[in-house]
């Protein structure tokens, strides 16, 4: 197999549902080490793009490659840490402690009928430590605040030792202080552990200084390669259908 530095490749990917074109001829590449943000209006196809990437939806046409391998043949899903949009919404009574949730990140790597190895336990502890949830280990996930749950979900994703982290609108229902801590954590993971980040957000301004690539999604996809292009980019106005610009700010 040829070595490819690309993590994800979309080649002319389209999705149509009941005559509605959700995504049209999407072409893009995410490279190793990149910090990418996906923005776009509600219903524009941001989450669908990620769901196609994760194999949760099937494209009508086109091809998706993960780590240089065609998606249908891809097996190393543990290399991708996925935190979906509503992941912090957990039933308050669900019988799962923080430690049990983080341990789920190891399930796909462990074989059938296997018990946790010493390495599994070490990685689970390390992931909890990294996200600052070790003290919450015996608490039920449903009894935590939105921000705490969010960190637990990221810890679960990290427990599979991913090379890329995909986070879909993580700050829905989370207070500003927790959002700020969250952005710091993503920055740390990207810089210190070299984890690539693909981040769906409405609030691109707050991470404008971090990102290396910006995807605008509204049925079609446009790619901005440099942060400088982001601010005041005319493409955003065109995609959103009204005059728009991006404010860089810090919560």
């Amino acid at each position: 197999m040829k070595f490819s530095p690309s993590l994800f490749e979309f080649h002319n990917v389209s999705l149509t549902r009941q005559d509605n074109e959700i995504l049209k001829s999407v072409n893009c590449t995410v490279l190793k080490g990149e910090y990418c943000a996906i923005i776009g209006p509600n219903g524009g196809g941001k989450t669908t793009l990620v769901r196609l990437l994760m194999g949760l939806d099937k494209p009508t046409s086109g091809m998706i490659k993960l780590f240089g391998v065609e998606q249908s043949k891809f097996k190393a899903w543990h290399k991708i840490g996925y935190v979906p949009q509503r992941s912090a919404l957990v039933d308050a009574n669900f019988p799962a402690t923080v430690r049990e949730v983080v341990a789920m990140g190891r399930y796909a790597i462990r074989g059938l009928f296997s018990f946790e190895s010493a390495e599994d336990r070490r990685i689970i502890e390390e992931s909890m430590e990294q996200m600052g949830v070790t003290d919450l280990r015996d608490r039920l996930i449903g009894h935590l605040s939105g921000g705490q749950r969010q960190r637990v979900m990221i810890a679960r994703a990290l427990a599979s030792h991913p090379q890329v982290l995909i986070v879909d609108e993580p700050n829905t229902g989370v207070d500003v202080e927790s959002q700020h801590r969250f952005y710091e954590l993503l920055r740390l993971l990207h810089k210190s552990r070299g984890i690539s980040i693909l981040f769906i957000t409405h609030d691109v301004g707050v991470i404008a200084q971090d990102i290396s690539k910006l995807f605008f999604v509204n049925q079609t996809l446009l790619v901005s390669q440099t942060p400088q292009e982001i601010v005041g980019c005319e493409s955003i106005s065109r995609l959103y259908g009204n005059p728009s610009h991006v404010l860089t700010h810090n919560h």
Partner: protein, 265 residues
């Protein structure tokens, strides 16, 4: 009290009851967490079709109940996962439809109402050796599958989408789970009966969840409650000449009420 175990029919009753209690509590935990509790009721009613056919053609009703329940579980899962029909609607259709079919078969034959009665309300005290062998074999297979895929089933119950995105074969495991549940329910109708099996699957995990523990502790407590209910219910049935299924379910209800009271907000 221990002298009741001198009777072979009580030995068989306890063996069957304890096998079913463990299986029902484990599989029940998964369906409760997935808001799929009505599956047990539905498949129990489908089992009744198998029982009716078995009694009609003179073959072992337990085998026929397993076959009917398995086929229905696959159809339900197919309609839910492929055609995306609402789960509760599919279950309601199968529940009513299978009961209607069972009634028609019963009314056409019209000669085995007494036998059918024991399947409706359970007759654990008349469990035969053949029943026990079937329960032991299929129960062991069911238990092995549940243990083999335990962590994957837990992940799916917690977050089906992320489990799928992690490379876990969710669709195949969902079919496996409903198949195992179908077999367990078909086996259970001898113990607690078609009309009461839902309680044995659903009440232990629901009561255990009230204690606010993690999944593994909740599962163990659920098994303990199911086992205790079977032991107490069967003993009450022996000493006070009560119907065994109803005695077990009432015992479960008492545990549930106790769990509610102990864990009042």
């Amino acid at each position: 009290m221990i002298e009741m175990l001198n009777y072979p029919f009580m030995q068989r009753a306890f063996a069957a009851g304890l096998i079913i209690a463990i299986l029902a509590a484990i599989s029940g935990s998964f369906i409760v967490l997935r808001r799929y509790s009505l599956l047990s009721e539905t498949l129990a009613h489908v089992s009744l079709v198998g029982v009716s056919v078995g009694l009609l053609v003179g073959s072992n009703p337990l085998w026929m109940a397993i076959a009917a329940s398995l086929v229905a579980s696959w159809m339900i899962e197919y309609l839910r996962s492929v055609h995306h029909l609402y789960s509760d609607s599919i279950l309601a259709i199968f529940l009513s439809g299978s009961l209607a079919l069972a009634i028609i078969i019963v009314s056409l034959a019209g000669s085995f109402n007494a036998s059918l009665f024991s399947y409706l309300f359970g007759s654990i005290l008349s469990v035969t050796n053949e029943d026990l062998v079937i329960m032991a074999i299929t129960g062991t297979v069911g238990m092995a599958l549940l243990l083999l895929f335990f962590k994957e089933l837990y992940f799916i119950a917690f977050d089906e989408e992320v489990a799928r995105a992690s490379g876990i074969r969710v669709a195949a495991l969902n079919f496996m789970l409903v198949s195992v549940i179908a077999v367990i329910i078909a086996l259970s109708i001898r113990v607690v009966g078609t009309l009461l099996i839902g309680a044995l699957m659903v009440i232990p995990p629901v009561a255990a969840i009230r204690f606010g523990m993690g999944f593994f502790k909740t599962m163990f407590l659920s098994i303990a409650l199911a086992l205790a209910s079977v032991v107490i219910g069967l003993s009450a049935s022996f000493f006070f000449s009560l119907p065994s299924g109803a005695a077990i379910v009432l015992c479960l209800l008492l545990f549930f009420i106790a769990a509610l009271v102990i864990n009042l907000p």
